[in-house]
């Protein structure tokens, strides 16, 4: 079995939640191995992250380079190619950064590439049998990945539960010297934060969230009425923002806000993983959707197969009465 490396995303000196998930995934591939974490960056933040990873990884490969102070996937890829042994298995989160980095990385390392993996069924020295989804999560598929020349695998956020294990007591190995001068054809300029909207959905314990099922802008009021009756806020999924029915600041999801409410009403939302990725903290999820097969019903606590345009006003009316 090739050596397994986990690429760790971090911010402000703290490793991303995906670090523990990658460790769990590595465990599933090869329980006998203690995977190595590989971290790129610069300065005290990088050091802090590496230190914190020693508990879950046998080795922490640190790549410190001023050019990597901001994680530019193009530069990170070059660094990794210089450092990682060929034939390795590299794990990364299937996130904005991970998908930017990994396909190209697999080519440069001449490795196989399997993105957005939900589970690892079997693993031997020659191949892995993985589980992915297609068609927006409506069907699953078994995928066979030949790892004879290594593999780059991105992991679906939240798919692998972190495993509790004894501290690995890993060591930090500085691999910075192996990386030469880092330049590339893409240069980071700045990050523009989204405009704060009128409502900060992250502050609400109860959210009435709407998706494509709301059908048109005029119907958003139906959700607002329910939210008013509940003392909640209205949030939404990506298609609603794309259609310009609500502002971006109301979007819950991997490219929107991350929320941690107590109660989450998913109304007319199909339940794509990008949307669910924005819901943390295991809230009580109620899903209302016309389509009984919508993926949202797999993750919701309670489900109602109904047309939200008819159901929500009834719910609102009843709540107002009581």
């Amino acid at each position: 079995m090739p050596r397994i490396f986990a690429y760790i995303v971090h911010k402000g000196g703290v490793a991303d939640d995906s670090a523990a998930e990658l460790a769990a995934a590595a465990q599933k591939i090869d329980a006998a191995q203690s995977p190595a974490a590989v971290v790129t960056g610069w300065g005290p933040d990088l050091d802090a992250v590496c230190e914190s990873l020693r508990a879950s990884f046998g080795e922490v490969w640190k790549i410190a380079n001023e050019a990597l102070a901001y994680p530019n996937a193009e530069l990170v890829r070059k660094a990794l190619v210089s450092v990682l042994p060929s034939g390795s298995i590299v794990l990364a989160p299937h996130s904005h950064f991970g998908t930017d980095l990994s396909p190209g990385l697999s080519i440069k390392m001449n490795a196989a590439y399997v993105p957005d993996v939900l589970d690892i069924e079997t693993a031997d020295g020659a191949a892995l049998k993985l589980i992915r989804q297609e068609f927006g999560g409506q069907v699953s598929a078994h995928v066979r990945c030949d790892i004879s020349t290594g593999a780059v695998i991105t992991i679906r956020p939240g798919a692998f539960k972190p495993v509790q294990s004894a501290p690995a007591g890993g060591t930090v190995v500085d691999k910075s010297a192996a990386v030469g001068a880092l330049t590339c054809g893409r240069r980071y300029l700045e990050t523009i934060a989204p405009e704060t909207g009128d409502v900060d959905i992250t502050k609400y314990p109860v959210l009435v969230s709407i998706g494509r099922g709301i059908q048109e802008q005029d119907n958003v009021g139906i959700a607002q009425d329910l939210a008013d009756a509940l003392g909640a806020a209205v949030s939404c999924s990506r298609p609603v923002v794309d259609a310009k029915w609500m502002e971006k600041s109301r979007q819950v999801g991997s490219s929107g806000q991350t929320v941690k409410p107590k109660v989450y009403l998913a109304c007319g939302i199909s339940g794509s993983f990008q949307h669910l990725a924005g819901i943390k903290g295991n809230p009580f999820i109620v899903a209302i959707n016309k389509n009984r097969n919508a993926p949202i019903f797999r993750v919701a606590d309670v489900g109602i197969a109904a047309d939200i345009l008819a159901f929500l006003p009834e719910l609102t009316a009843k709540i107002r009465q009581s």
Partner: protein
């Protein structure tokens, strides 16, 4: 600018559910309608808007068979000057890397300033763009939601977590994967498609591209073995009955969970 857009024909799943077929080995394809992958359509629109500002032409390419020509014609009806089909029996069963190999071989035959792909297709892999760039040694950026043309380079915005935008500068030639919502694609109707119905679409095979054996099923390292619907497991507890009864149950649950004050 000469812009190449890599597009793909996919089943249209917006309104209809994907189901397993009777034999249990594939999805039910009988009633599927196909169209161009939505992010690819946004990419073509973006390419057209860029050449409207800077001059040049847009070429749309796809890897597939005769059935896939229809999306090339649709994008040509939209305004792309050229459509190219890369087709060979050997290409069936190519994995993502194989597709990228085929496309890279095509790119090397011409000269393109900018190559666009849609961010991902129905398989959710989001891989071809990044692989293509690495094979060509072009800079790459994914999830692009704004493009400004400058001299010899582009200023682009990438979509990142929390709705923030990451602004980058990227040298030409480069590869970008385009996110939906970057623009408002123009409408293409039956009439437009009819008007391009008889324009010949050049087709290139494995030998023309020089990829014999490098891209087909033999070279594929990743193979999808089947489709299945996972056992539902616990899933949601479905509330049934009259609407009134459901509303009452729900209100009870909301009260218990702290959703109702």
């Amino acid at each position: 600018m000469e812009i190449l857009v890599c597009a793909r024909r996919v089943p249209d799943t917006s309104e209809n559910e994907i189901e397993m077929n009777g034999a249990g080995d594939d999805i039910e394809r009988d009633d599927l309608v196909y169209s161009v992958n939505e992010p690819d359509n946004y990419a073509v629109e973006e390419a057209l808007e860029i050449v409207e500002r800077t001059g040049g032409t847009v070429t749309v390419v796809t890897v597939g068979g005769d059935d896939d020509e229809e999306i090339l014609r649709r994008e040509m009806a939209m305004g792309a000057k050229n459509g190219v089909l890369l087709s060979d029996d050997d290409f069936n069963g190519a994995d993502g890397r194989g597709i990228a190999t085929i496309l890279a071989a095509f790119v090397k035959r011409g000269h393109y300033d900018l190559i666009l792909t849609g961010v991902q297709a129905e398989d959710g892999a989001a891989q071809v763009g990044g692989m293509l760039a690495a094979m060509l040694d072009y800079p790459f950026a994914s999830l692009v939601n704004a493009i400004e043309v400058q001299h010899g380079k582009l200023k682009i915005s990438r979509e990142i977590e929390g709705g923030s935008k990451e602004i980058n500068e990227i040298d030409l030639p480069c590869v970008l994967s385009i996110q939906t919502g970057i623009n408002e694609p123009r409408y293409v109707g039956m009439r437009g498609i009819r008007q391009v119905a008889s324009i010949p679409i050049p087709t290139f095979g494995a030998a023309d591209l020089g990829v014999d054996g490098d891209a087909g099923p033999a070279a594929a390292k990743v193979k999808r073995m089947d489709y299945f619907t996972p056992p539902l497991g616990k899933g949601a507890e479905m509330l049934e009955g009259s609407t009134e009864a459901i509303v009452d149950s729900l209100i009870g649950l909301l009260k218990a969970k702290g959703g109702l004050n």
